[in-house]
Symmetry: C2
Subunit: 324 residues, 2 copies
DNA sequence: CTGTTAGCGCCTTCAA
DNA sequence: TTGAAGGCGCTAACAG
């Protein structure tokens, strides 16, 4: 397009560029009449500000980086969807990067985002390694990472611990004698759910089998469980730290004709669509609430409003369906 | 950070800013010695180019907009994931917007993307309305939209028609006497799958029931099917134009104790995880192939390479599992 | 091979 | 309430 700049607006409206700028940014110091005039010309010309020039001048891009482990997982997809929607309301865009839980990739993406001068970053990171806090305002979502320097930061998440605890309680209430847990890799959320689960038991916790799978997905869980069942051993109730893990476990059991919930009870975590559609009992997370809180805090920071730098923890709720 | 600019590099390395710029962009016309010198200084200073300044100057942001109906659907999530990865290799970022199949939102996003001067757009749009082609290089993915002006454009998709055709063939081969189709709203891909399905039948097509659901998701399909079954009518084989629709249908049938595949056969479309994990027979799309093709064409265009503006159609393949 | 120079479009003092 | 002018950091002629 024949880019129309402020200059053209200034010429046609007979005022200086500076005044046009003031009108656009509502910076006061112009008369009502000039304002109306300038606004009219802008409309007539269909002028839109040049984001790049503005970004260069103000050092603010109005782009927010969102770093997620795996957008392919509905849980993270929803998180990013709601973040994007909330931010778009305020004219911010989101740049999404996938890390696949990989520290190197994570760092490369942070660097890319920084080089691009994003206005802020919403960061889902919580592997066993420590991370540098980016230079721009950053909000940690879903997981609490190991941070290198800072002690103050905003962190938003579900109460993974209590979620695990509730799962343990339910399994006990339902009379499970040999409960166990199937969990993912050493990531903050996974570890917390494990801790909570174990904490719900009063007896000897070392008797409770903890089976770990490499990734929090269907195949990993399905494989590990199939092997286990092949060796003839299984308990009568499993807390799976992810709905996808639960699906893998569920089908491994079904393939061996083991009845759910009669012989084995199952509890998942996340409450994504597949849980509802498979009748999986699971721990629900308030995805929308967390996403909107993250977006709203980010906006607060960007607008210079005061935000308390601490952890914001959302309640989890047990959703009973058929499997437990 | 104390932003280090080219100026500082030029001072410390004793050459002009222009030379520094040439070295950075590898634009030739500098000696080996100066190059090494400049590179060393850059490294020492930890200099990184300012993307905003560059963008302002060159009018290229290295941001690619990706417009998808619903990132929450694994099919689109994977598409965007692979696009993002391919583009990141070449130092491009992706800005993702969700449209929820909504024309207004679509237009607002295009506008936002244009205002931001993205370098290009990968666009999934194909409702019943006509769309304006954006000003920047655009590639249409998955669906062929109704375009307002241009007749030349790049369009990449699965052969939805043949996919539907294959589904029809299979159901017939399997001996279905009363086959039907459950499809989503009037979107290009949905309509094509329907056309293909019907085309596979030689007899009277008007006898084939077409049940339409509002959205291509589990709940819509589940509701509609439950109602239908409540009225006591169903066929012996359904082609569902989406895996999520198939899931809804599957469970509605199971709830009525109707055996799959004995009494009713089911074929889905997309082949997302849930299909594999539910034993759903479905039509597989080469998501990665399409995404990478789109990214690669985009890069070609951006780099001034010649690309033939036409439709690129990927084969679909039938994946037989338990439901048909 | 290298340096000088002129903006890209915008915001923001400073002066009027 | 307004205008003039400088500069954000970079690239791309145009000279040498």
């Amino acid at each position: 397009m024949a880019s129309i700049s402020m200059k053209k607006v200034s010429e046609l409206s007979g005022v200086s560029i500076a005044t046009v700028s003031r009108v656009i940014n509502n910076n006061g110091r112009f008369s009502r009449a000039t304002r109306d005039n300038v606004v009219a010309v802008i409309k007539e010309l269909g002028y839109t500000p040049n984001f790049m020039a503005r970004a260069l001048r103000t050092n603010k891009t109005r782009n927010i980086g969102v770093i997620v482990p795996d957008i392919t997982n509905e849980f993270f997809a929803k998180l990013t969807l709601y973040i994007q929607q909330a931010l778009f309301e305020e004219n911010y865009s989101t740049i999404i990067y996938n890390t696949d839980e990989n520290k190197d990739l994570e760092e490369r993406h942070i660097q890319a985002l920084t080089a691009q001068s994003v206005s802020g970053i919403i960061f889902i990171s919580g592997g066993g390694y420590s991370v540098n806090i980016p230079e721009v305002p950053t909000i940690f979502l879903d997981r609490k990472p190991r941070l290198k320097d800072k002690n103050n930061y905003i962190q938003i998440r579900t109460d993974h611990f209590m979620g695990g605890y509730k799962a343990g309680e339910l399994l006990q209430k339902l009379g499970c004698k040999k409960p166990g847990i199937v969990k993912g890799p050493k990531i903050f959320s996974q570890q917390e759910r494990l801790r909570g689960f174990l904490a719900s038991f009063t007896g000897k916790k070392s008797d409770i089998p903890v089976v770990a799978v490499e990734k929090v997905d269907y195949d990993s869980a399905h494989n590990v469980l199939s092997q286990m069942l092949g060796r003839g051993l299984h308990g009568d109730g499993y807390f799976c730290t992810t709905d996808w893990i639960a699906m893998g476990v569920m089908h491994a059991l079904e393939e061996r004709k083991i009845k759910i919930p009669e012989q084995v009870k199952l509890v998942g975590f996340d409450d994504i669509s597949i849980a509802a559609c498979s009748g999986l009992t699971t721990i629900h997370q308030d995805i929308k609430g967390m996403a909107e809180t993250a977006a709203s805090f980010m906006l607060d920071i960007l607008n210079g409003r005061e935000v308390e730098e601490r952890e914001y923890v959302f309640d989890s709720v047990m959703v009973r369906r058929k499997t437990a």
